[in-house]
């Protein structure tokens, strides 16, 4: 009986300890180990960094390819990962540079829902970059929903290029 009791208690303590370490890891949240091999396209349940506002020193010459998305999806597809790896490489080598990820949607459906979906797309790329070792404090997100299409046409060829994350770099 007592043995059984002790066993239960020790199991409980082990569980608590595990839970505490995992909370800690999540709180830290910005280390590479957190997200590598984790689920691609999921966002961290972790507070976003304070916004960078006002006159930013934008670096217009630094350009990286937009990450594209399937309809109604915030999953980062396999073909898009090399684009994020390139962004991560650049940020690794330029630690004084931060990035704003702008999430965009095609025009179909609810404009209000698309605002949230665009934010999910930006957060998915942010989570991926954090997984590659980039400090989350250097990554801001901004959703434009369906408000900033690159192609304002009303057909699939336009919608396809409008579902995207763009990267704006700035000197910190």
């Amino acid at each position: 009986m007592t043995k059984n009791y002790l066993f239960t208690v020790s199991i409980l303590m082990l569980v608590c300890a595990l839970a505490m370490t995992s909370c800690r890891a999540r709180k830290g949240g910005r280390r590479a180990s957190d997200n590598i091999g984790g689920e691609i396209g999921s966002s961290l349940d972790d507070s976003l960094p304070t916004r960078v506002e006002g006159d930013l020193n934008i670096l217009p010459s630094v350009k990286y390819d937009a990450v594209m998305f399937d309809y109604d999806s915030a999953q980062i597809g396999e073909s898009e990962r090399t684009k994020l790896e390139a962004v991560a490489d650049y940020l690794m080598n330029n630690t004084d540079v931060g990035v704003i990820i702008e999430g965009n949607c095609d025009e179909r459906g609810s404009a209000d829902y698309n605002l949230a979906l665009g934010e999910r797309r930006a957060l998915a790329a942010r989570a991926y970059l954090i997984g590659l070792g980039i400090d989350g404090d250097n990554i801001q997100t901004r959703s434009y929903g369906e408000e900033m299409p690159v192609n304002p046409d009303h057909a699939e060829f336009a919608w396809r290029v409008n579902r995207r994350d763009e990267f704006i770099f700035f000197k910190r």
């Binding site: 976003l48 960094p49 459906g109 605002l115 901004r142 959703s143």
Partner: protein, 412 residues
């Protein structure tokens, strides 16, 4: 055993209550479908511009209300008599309504106002007449806030419920989105990028023109909607790592997070008329669908309705939820009754109808119609399914996201 008996009693009582509710609903709906003939020929107006404008607005408001046919002549069920007297820069309007058969006077009232407010007075007369003769609130004196892009940027505009008096409210030269009225119709809450280039939530007080920022957390701040008590807002924030539903005092205090969906986006909250629940959009099931959650949180429950997407809910003061549903590649406006689980399609033609907003009469819905390359605002009658344009064709640009003021007028 006893417990079973009491349970049975409770169940049968609630069934009974439920039936009564259904019955009263049916009765009201049946009455609503009837159009009364109204004789306005005894309402005297002189040939001056002010009187003519007043008369034209009154007739159009009464027709638009859906309750009346003005072509009944002397056989009409109701007779309205009265006159418009110009008095310098002011007008005086006297108005009385009679039951034609019994000669019984149903209503009388005198209105005074400035000449240039003749159309505003006409809206008030129309709403008072609708209420006096049908017992239902009118929508003529409501204001509609909409988003327009005629300047090249999305700004807020306001017009009357008949499209008159269209004027621009914001001049931010930025993106303005999802405006919603405060219950008293004095303030508008909306999302704008104008100050930080990020989506923030702002509150405009119309009388003073004062604007204050209510939410500028990191990430997304959007989709704010006033509670019926006017003291709280439901809103969407991503500051904790993902777009989720929150409730906050209008003064910015007591922020409560209601949803915790790590892999889903929430959007478009709208409060139940008693303020106890919130309907919202979530894609936690894979596609954007409607859910209801308690105002303090808990487990959201999905509203089971058809359509591959169900978005932009607006919970009316009548208890019905209007929403936009994707069916066979097109969005149409539907109405959902949370008490019975029934749905009804209210827009029907071969275009997209989106973003519904209930009028205070609980009968009409303002919505956006996307057809070809243009989006415009339409008013749909949920009883007759008639659909008319709010803004004149000649007005430049596209129009989006209508919200009608005074939604809770009849329960306040």
């Amino acid at each position: 055993m006893n417990r079973f008996v009491s349970a049975a009693i409770i169940i049968s009582f609630s069934l009974l209550a439920f039936c009564f509710e259904c019955q009263s609903q049916v009765r009201v709906t049946k009455g609503m479908n009837e159009v009364s003939f109204l004789n306005l020929s005894g309402f005297k107006t002189q040939g001056d511009n002010v009187s003519v404008a007043f008369r034209r607005t009154l007739e159009s408001d009464l027709t638009r209300s859906g309750w009346f046919n003005l072509s009944g002549g002397a056989r009409a069920e109701f007779t309205v008599i009265g006159n418009v007297k110009p008095d310098g820069t002011r007008i005086i309007i006297q108005c009385e309504a009679y039951n034609t058969m019994t000669k019984e006077r149903c209503w009388s009232k005198t209105y005074r106002g400035k000449n240039r407010e003749a159309h505003v007075l006409a809206h008030h007369v129309a709403d008072d007449l609708v209420f006096a003769l049908t017992g239902q609130p009118g929508m003529a004196s409501s204001k509609i806030v909409i988003v327009g892009n005629r300047t090249g940027k999305k700004e807020l505009y306001i017009c009357d419920a008949d499209g008159a008096g269209l004027h621009q409210v914001t001049r931010d030269n930025a993106i303005s989105l999802s405006p919603r009225w405060s219950p008293d119709g004095r303030q508008i809450v909306y999302t704008s990028y104008y100050r930080t280039q990020f989506p923030d939530i702002f509150l405009i007080t119309l009388a003073s023109g004062k604007r204050q920022c209510l939410a500028d957390f990191p990430g997304l701040n959007s989709s704010a909607a006033f509670a019926p008590n006017g003291k709280e807002l439901a809103l969407i924030l991503s500051k904790d790592g993902n777009p989720d539903l929150y409730v906050m005092d209008v003064n910015g205090n007591h922020l409560t997070r209601l949803t915790f969906t790590k892999r889903a986006a929430e959007a478009s909250p709208s409060w139940s008329p008693d303020g106890n629940e919130i309907v919202f959009v979530s894609d936690s099931s894979g596609t954007p669908q409607l859910f209801i959650i308690g105002r303090s949180g808990g487990a959201p429950r999905r509203i089971a309705v058809g359509g591959s997407q169900n978005v932009d809910p607006d919970w009316g003061a009548n208890g019905y939820i209007a929403y936009s549903s994707l069916f066979g590649g097109q969005f149409q406006i539907f109405v959902f009754n949370p008490a019975t689980g029934e749905t009804k399609q209210v827009s029907r033609d071969n275009t997209n109808y989106e973003d519904p907003s209930w009028a205070p009469d609980g009968r009409h819905i303002f919505c956006m119609r996307r057809q070809g390359y243009h989006s415009r605002i339409f008013i749909v009658d949920t009883l007759s399914s008639s659909c008319i344009s709010l803004i004149k064709e000649t007005e430049k640009g596209d129009w989006f996201a209508p919200d009608c003021s005074g939604k809770y007028r009849n329960i306040r």
